[in-house]
C-alpha cells in the first residue's frame, strides 16, 4: 500500500488496484478538496471511481475529464493520475487554480474502461475496447468511443463485433458509457467535457460524426489553439487543432460529440504525445513530461471555462 502520495511514483505505469489504492491516499491527504465517488460498475463488475474536486456548494458548474477510455493508451491513465495529484497539490498554492475551484468543481474519471485496462495488464497489452460479450459473436468488446448517442452507427464506426471500432448493439449499450451519461445528466451543470486519448498530438472539438462545423467552431478553435500554444511552450511538442472529422476522419458515436449535443459547449478531446518511436508503448520516462505539457493546455481550457460562462 502506498503510505502517502509523495511515495507514489508518478513516472511509472501502474495496475488498476494500485491506482485505486492511490486514490484513497489522495482523498485522505486532501479531504477538504477531494472525494471519491463510485458512479457504477463495469461489465465485469469493477467499480468505476470519479475523483471530485470541490470546495463546497451544490452542483456547482463543473468540468469533466476522463482518461483512458481506450485501455491500451496507457499514457492517458498515467497522465490522469499525475493531473489529479497536480490539482490537489496546487489548490491553495496556484492562485488561478484556486479561484477556479472556489467557483467550479472538477470531476476526473481516470480509468474510464477498467475492464479493458486490467485486460491490457493481464492478457493482451494491445486491447482497446470494453470486455462485454456480444451475443452470437466469438469476438468481445465494443469501442466505447463509438458507443455514445451521437450519430450512433454512422460513418467511422463498424457494425462488426470483431472490429476495433465496433459501435456496439445500441447507443449506450456499454455500462461504462452509460454510467458516465447518467452522472452527467443527473448533475445537469457540466460546462466542459474533456476526453484524453493517446497518441498523435491533436486537440479536437466536435464533430466526428459530421464534417459540418459546429455553431461554436470559431470559439472552440480559438480556445484550442491558445491551449496548444501553452502546451508547446514547455517542450516544443507540436499539436494540430481542429474538428475530429476534419483533422482525423469521420467517427460517429464519440463522447465529445454527445457532450456537445447535450449542451456542453466546451467539449474537447486530446491525443497525447507521440515520439514517433513507440506508439502505444510510450516509455514510462515520458509520462511526466507528457502530463506536464498537457496540464498547461488543460489549465488554459479550464480557465477559459471559468472566465467565459454561458
Amino acid at each position: 500500500m502506498e503510505r502517502n502520495t509523495k511515495s507514489f511514483n508518478f513516472g511509472a505505469y501502474h495496475r488498476l488496484e494500485t491506482i485505486y489504492s492511490w486514490m484513497d491516499t489522495l482523498v485522505a491527504q486532501h479531504s477538504n478538496l477531494v472525494t471519491k465517488l463510485e458512479i457504477g460498475r463495469s461489465y465485469e463488475n469493477r467499480p468505476m471511481y470519479v475523483l471530485k474536486f470541490s470546495t463546497g456548494g451544490n452542483k456547482r458548474p463543473a468540468i469533466w475529464i476522463d482518461t483512458g477510455i481506450h485501455s491500451r493508451e496507457w499514457v492517458s491513465q498515467a497522465t490522469g493520475v499525475w493531473t489529479a495529484n497536480k490539482i490537489a497539490t496546487d489548490y491553495g498554492r496556484d492562485a488561478s487554480l484556486t479561484s477556479l475551484l472556489n467557483t467550479m468543481d472538477i470531476y476526473m474519471l481516470i480509468l474510464a474502461n477498467p475492464d479493458g485496462y486490467v485486460h491490457t495488464h493481464t492478457h493482451d497489452r494491445m486491447w482497446r475496447k470494453t470486455r462485454s460479450q456480444i451475443p452470437g459473436s466469438v469476438c468481445r468488446g465494443v469501442d466505447p468511443n463509438r458507443n455514445w448517442d451521437a450519430g450512433f452507427g454512422g460513418p467511422g464506426a463498424s457494425s462488426s463485433p470483431c472490429s476495433e471500432s465496433y459501435h456496439g448493439p445500441s447507443a449506450h449499450s456499454e455500462v461504462e458509457v452509460k454510467n458516465v451519461v447518467n452522472l452527467i445528466k443527473s448533475h445537469g451543470n457540466f460546462k466542459a467535457f474533456i476526453s484524453v486519448h493517446a497518441y498523435s498530438q491533436l486537440l479536437m472539438y466536435p464533430y466526428g460524426y459530421s464534417c459540418w462545423n459546429v455553431p461554436h467552431q470559431p470559439e472552440l478553435d480559438s480556445v484550442g489553439r491558445a491551449a496548444v500554444k501553452k502546451l508547446t511552450s514547455l517542450y516544443g511538442t507540436q499539436y494540430k487543432v481542429g474538428s475530429i472529422c476534419n483533422i482525423i476522419y469521420p467517427a460517429s458515436g464519440g463522447s465529445i460529440d454527445w457532450s456537445y449535443d447535450t449542451g456542453i459547449k466546451y467539449s474537447f478531446a486530446f491525443e497525447l504525445r507521440d515520439t514517433g518511436r513507440y506508439g502505444f508503448i510510450l516509455p514510462a520516462n515520458q509520462i511526466i513530461p507528457t502530463a506536464s505539457e498537457t496540464w498547461l493546455a488543460l489549465k488554459h481550457i479550464m480557465e477559459y471555462v471559468r472566465d467565459d460562462p454561458y
Binding site: R125, G279, A284
Partner: protein, 93 residues
Amino acid sequence: DRIFTGDQVIRIDVQSKEQVQLLRALETEEELELDFWLHPVSTERPVDIRVPRSSLSSVKGYLHDHNIPFTVMIDDLQELLNQERAEMEVNQM
C-alpha cells in the same frame, strides 16, 4: 498472455492521395489481421500499422509493389513489452 513476438509496427509517411487509397485497401484485408494504430487519412498524418509476424512478408511486399516507402518503428513488439513489464515490476517492488 497474448504474445507479440516478431510483430512489427511500421510507419508510413504518406506522400499522395493514391497512397492513402492503397493503404485503405490494405485496411480491408481482414486475413492479414493488421492493427492500424494510426489510420490512413491524408498526407498530413503518418500511418502506423502493427503487423503480425505472419503477415510481414505480405504487407512489405504490397508496400514495395506500390512504391510506398516505410520505416520500421518497432522491430519486435514483444521485446518492448518485456522491457515495459520488467520496468513495472521494478517499480512495484
